[in-house]
C-alpha cells in the first residue's frame, strides 16, 4: 500500500525544511566564528538579558496558569448566557495579532488609556506604568490565561458524568471534590500547559518589543533583533540567536518529556451541565473568577473597535502606505497559509502511511522535523537567512519571499497538530477500501479527505492565515519602506505615538481576523447541515 509515489512528496518537503533551517543555522555559525559562549555569562548585558528572559517567562507562566485554574474550574461547572462566545474569545486571544492585543491593552492601561483618563477626573495619576515588566506580564497574561484555561477545561470536561453524580451522592464538598477529583485530573495536564505557556512567553517578540520600554526589560529574542537592526553587530546577533536556539531546544526537550499529547479541539466545546451541590459561596466564587477573566479579555478588544473609528480614519485609509501594507499582509498571509497547509498535508500523508505499516519512529521523526520551528524561533531563522543572503543579493528586495517562507514554517506545527489525528483516522478507516477501488493521488484527497475532514483542514488554514497576518517577528528584520506589512506599520505608528492612526490599523487587523473566522464558521455550519 505504501508506494514511493505516496511518500516521496512528504520526504522532499521535509528535505526542503531541513535545507532551509540548516542554511540559516550554518550562517549563524559562520558569523560567530569564535563560539564565544563564555561572553554570554561574562558580559553583564547578555547575562541580564538571559536572566530577564527566564524571569519574565517564569512570572508570566505562574500568573497565567495559576489564575487559569480557578477560571477553568468555574467554567467547567457553570453554564451562563454568552459562555460559548467567551470560550470563542478565549480561543482567539492566541491567534489574535499580538500588536492588536497590545494596542487594546494600551488603550485601557496605558499612560493615556481609559483608566488614567478616569483617574484624571479625580486628580489621581496612574500608579503604574505599562512599559516594562508590568506591561509584559499583563500582556502575557492577557494572551495566555485564556489559552491555559481552555487547555485545562478539557480534562475537567472529560471527567465522566458519573463522577459528578457520585460526588453529589457521597456528599463530597467543593474543596474535597477539587482536591480528590478535579485536581488529580488537572495535575496530569499542568506540566504540559506550563511548558507551552513558558515557551510562548520565552520566545515572545512583539509584546516585549512594544511594551518592553528599554534595555532593562529586554529578552534574548529582542536583543537579537536590536543587535542586527540597530547596532549592525552581526556577530552578537548570531551568537545570541544560537544561544536562543540552544535554550529553546532544551526547553522543547523538557516539555516533550513532561507531556502527554493534548488534542486541541477547534472552537468551543460545550458539554451538558454537570450536577453538583451548589451553594451561595460557590456561586459567588465562580462568578468572581468568570467576571474577572471577562474583564481582562473583553474590554481591550472592545476598545480596539471603539477607538478604531476616529478622525484619523480617512487619513489612514487614503494613505498609500496603508494600502501597500494591507496588500503585502494579505499576500504574505495567503501564501504562507497555503504553503503551510500543502506542506503539512504532504508530510502527514507520508507519515501516516508509514504509521500504517508500523514505522512509528520514522513517522514521529518526520512530523518532528515539520515542527522544528518550535526549537528555532522565527526570528532566529530570519536572522540566519538574513546573514546567509546578505552577501549574495539585496536581502530587502527578497524581503516578502523570505517572510512568506518563515511564516509558513512558523504555521506548520499548527497545521500538523490540527490535522495529524484526523488524517490518520481517515487513512485507518478507508486506506484499504481506497486501494481496492484504485483511488489515489489528488482525486482521493478530494473525495475522501476533503469531504470527510474539511473542518480541521479549513481550521488549520485559517489559523495559519491569521498567525501569518499578525506576525511581526519575521518581517521585523526585513521590513523597509517598500515592504511593510500591517503589523510592522502598526508597530511604527505605536512607536511614534500616533495612537489614533494605530487605532485604525488595529481595527483593520482585528476585522480581517474576525472576518476570516466568521467565514469559517459559515463553512462549518454548512458542513453540519450536509451531515
Amino acid at each position: 500500500m505504501t508506494s514511493k509515489l505516496q511518500t516521496l512528496p512528504g520526504v522532499i518537503i521535509a528535505g526542503f525544511i531541513l535545507l532551509f533551517v540548516s542554511g540559516a543555522f550554518s550562517a549563524l555559525l559562520l558569523h560567530s566564528p569564535d563560539f564565544n559562549f563564555s561572553a554570554l555569562w561574562v558580559d553583564p548585558y547578555y547575562r541580564h538579558v538571559t536572566v530577564f528572559s527566564f524571569y519574565q517567562s517564569f512570572l508570566s507562566t505562574l500568573l497565567s496558569v495559576g489564575l487559569a485554574i480557578p477560571v477553568a474550574h468555574a467554567l467547567s461547572r457553570r453554564s451562563f448566557f454568552g459562555k460559548e462566545l467567551l470560550l470563542k474569545l478565549f480561543a482567539a486571544t492566541l491567534v489574535l495579532p499580538v500588536l492588536v492585543g497590545v494596542f487594546g491593552l494600551l488603550s485601557i492601561y496605558g499612560n493615556s488609556g481609559l483608566i488614567s483618563q478616569l483617574l484624571a477626573f479625580i486628580d489621581y495619576k496612574l500608579p503604574f506604568s505599562i512599559y516594562g515588566l508590568n506591561g509584559i506580564l499583563l500582556a502575557h497574561v492577557f494572551f495566555n490565561l485564556p489559552f491555559a484555561a481552555r487547555l485545562l477545561l478539557q480534562p475537567l470536561q472529560s471527567l465522566p458524568v458519573e463522577n459528578h453524580k457520585l460526588s453529589v451522592h457521597l456528599g463530597i464538598s467543593h474543596w474535597n471534590k477539587f482536591k480528590l477529583v478535579e485536581w488529580p485530573c488537572l495535575r496530569q495536564q499542568l506540566p504540559h500547559v506550563c511548558g507551552l505557556v513558558f515557551m510562548l512567553c520565552f520566545t515572545s517578540f512583539a509584546t516585549v518589543m512594544a511594551l518592553g520600554g528599554g534595555p532593562k526589560s529586554t529578552t534574548i529574542e529582542l536583543a537579537i533583533y536590536q543587535a542586527i537592526k540597530f547596532d549592525f553587530d552581526l556577530q552578537s546577533g548570531a551568537l545570541l540567536a544560537l544561544w536562543q536556539m540552544i535554550l529553546c531546544g532544551t526547553l522543547a526537550v523538557i516539555i516533550q518529556r513532561l507531556s502527554r499529547p493534548v488534542a486541541l479541539t477547534s472552537g468551543a466545546t460545550l458539554s451538558a451541565p454537570v450536577p453538583f451541590c451548589d451553594s451561595k459561596p460557590a456561586r459567588y466564587w465562580d462568578t468572581l473568577w468568570i467576571s474577572a477573566v471577562a474583564v481582562l479579555v473583553i474590554p481591550p478588544l472592545l476598545m480596539v473597535f471603539i477607538n478604531g473609528l476616529n478622525v484619523q480614519f480617512l487619513t489612514v485609509v487614503t494613505d498609500t502606505v496603508f494600502w501597500s501594507a494591507l496588500k503585502n499582509s494579505l499576500l504574505v498571509a495567503l501564501s504562507a497559509a497555503l504553503i503551510a497547509l500543502i506542506a503539512g498535508v504532504l508530510i502527514l500523508i507520508t507519515s501516516r502511511s508509514w504509521r500504517l505499516i508500523g514505522l512509528q519512529f520514522r513517522a514521529d521523526k518526520l512530523e518532528l522535523l515539520g515542527a522544528i520551528i518550535l526549537v528555532t524561533p522565527g526570528l532566529v531563522i530570519s536572522t540566519g537567512i538574513f546573514l546567509l543572503l546578505r552577501n549574495v543579493t539585496d536581502v530587502f528586495s527578497l524581503a516578502l519571499l523570505i517572510v512568506i517562507a518563515v511564516n509558513a514554517l512558523m504555521a506548520l506545527p499548527y497545521v500538523l497538530k490540527t490535522l495529524a489525528q484526523p488524517m490518520l483516522h481517515t487513512a485507518q478507516q478507508y486506506d484499504k477500501l481506497c486501494t481496492s477501488l484504485g483511488m489515489s493521488g489528488f482525486s482521493r484527497f478530494y473525495l475522501i479527505e476533503w469531504r470527510a475532514i474539511r473542518l480541521p483542514i479549513v481550521h488549520a488554514f485559517s489559523i495559519s492565515f491569521v498567525l501569518s497576518m499578525g506576525d511581526l517577528s519575521a518581517i521585523a528584520l526585513f521590513g523597509s519602506q517598500d515592504s511593510t506589512t500591517l503589523p510592522l506599520y502598526l508597530f511604527q505608528l505605536l512607536g511614534s505615538y500616533q495612537m489614533e492612526s494605530a487605532a485604525v490599523v488595529s481595527l483593520f487587523l482585528l476585522m480581517l481576523s474576525v472576518a476570516l473566522f466568521a467565514l469559517i464558521e459559515k463553512i462549518m455550519v454548512k458542513n453540519h447541515v450536509v451531515k
Binding site: 458519573e162 463522577n163 453524580k165 451522592h169 457521597l170
Partner: protein
C-alpha cells in the same frame, strides 16, 4: 420502604409518571426497553433530578427536600463508578467520609468489606489496573460501607460476561440479606431478574405498566408489551 406518589417528570417533551410502592427487604428488578424511563426512575430517587410534582418517600418520610448525599440510599452506575486516580481503598473510603479523613474503626471497616467482596489484595491498585468485574466489586463494596437501607443499581453488571454477572448478582443477594438492604436494580436481562430478584417492575413509555412478584414474570403475563419483552429475552 420506598414510595413514588404520582411523581411527574418532563424531559424534552417526554412525560414520566411514576406511582410505585416497594417493600422493605425486596430485590426489585426494573425492566423495560431502552429510553422507557428506567434510569430516570433511579435518578429521581437519588436526587440527580427533581420531579415536577408528586412525592417520593423513603420509610414514610418525604426525601424531596433532602440533599442527595443525605438520602438513605447508595447507588451504582453502569461504568465510571470509581475515581480513576484514587486507589481501591480510597474509593471505598469515600463512602465513609467524603473528605477521606477516616478513623481507625472506619479503616477496619474498609478492610472488612474488601474481604467480603474479595478484593482485599487489590487495595492499593488504581481502577485501570483492575478488570471490569473487580472494578464493580469495589464499587459495590463502597455502596455497602455507606450503610444505607436502599441500594440502587443502574445496570452495573450488564457489561460483564454471563458467568461474572451471575456471580455478582449472587454477591448482591448475599450482601443485601446480610446488611438488610432493599435493592432496586435496572437490568436488560430477564435472566438476571429471574436469578436475583424477588419482584419486578416493568417500565413502558414513561410509566410502570406492570409490577408484581418475580414468579409472574413469564410469557403468560397479561401485559402484552411485557409478554413481548419476555419472549424476546428468553
Amino acid at each position: 420502604m420506598i414510595k413514588f406518589c404520582s411523581v411527574k417528570y418532563l424531559y424534552q417533551k417526554e412525560q414520566f409518571n411514576f406511582d410505585i410502592e416497594i417493600d422493605t427487604g425486596s430485590i426489585v428488578a426494573v425492566l423495560g426497553a431502552s429510553g422507557a424511563g428506567k434510569s430516570t426512575l433511579l435518578n429521581l430517587a437519588a436526587g440527580f433530578i427533581d420531579p415536577l410534582s408528586g412525592d417520593i418517600q423513603i420509610a414514610g418520610e418525604s426525601i424531596l427536600n433532602v440533599q442527595p448525599y443525605h438520602r438513605p440510599l447508595a447507588m451504582l452506575f453502569q461504568e465510571n463508578n470509581l475515581f480513576a486516580h484514587l486507589n481501591v481503598a480510597d474509593n471505598i473510603g469515600l463512602g465513609l467520609h467524603p473528605g477521606l479523613k477516616l478513623t481507625l474503626e472506619q479503616k477496619a471497616k474498609v478492610e472488612e468489606i474488601c474481604q467480603q467482596v474479595g478484593v482485599e489484595k487489590l487495595q492499593t491498585r488504581l481502577p485501570h489496573q483492575l478488570s471490569g468485574g473487580q472494578r464493580q466489586r469495589v464499587a459495590l463494596a463502597r455502596c455497602f460501607v455507606q450503610n444505607k437501607p436502599l441500594l440502587l443499581l443502574d445496570e452495573p453488571f450488564s457489561a460483564l460476561d454471563p458467568i461474572l454477572r451471575e456471580e455478582m448478582l449472587a454477591m448482591v443477594k448475599k450482601l443485601a440479606a446480610r446488611h438488610k438492604v432493599t435493592v432496586l436494580m435496572v437490568t436488560h436481562h430477564i435472566s438476571d431478574a429471574l436469578n436475583a430478584a424477588s419482584h419486578y417492575l416493568f417500565v413502558d413509555q414513561g410509566q410502570v405498566s406492570s409490577a408484581g412478584e418475580i414468579s409472574r414474570l413469564n410469557c403468560e403475563n397479561p401485559n402484552p408489551s411485557l409478554r413481548r419483552f419476555v419472549q424476546a429475552g428468553l
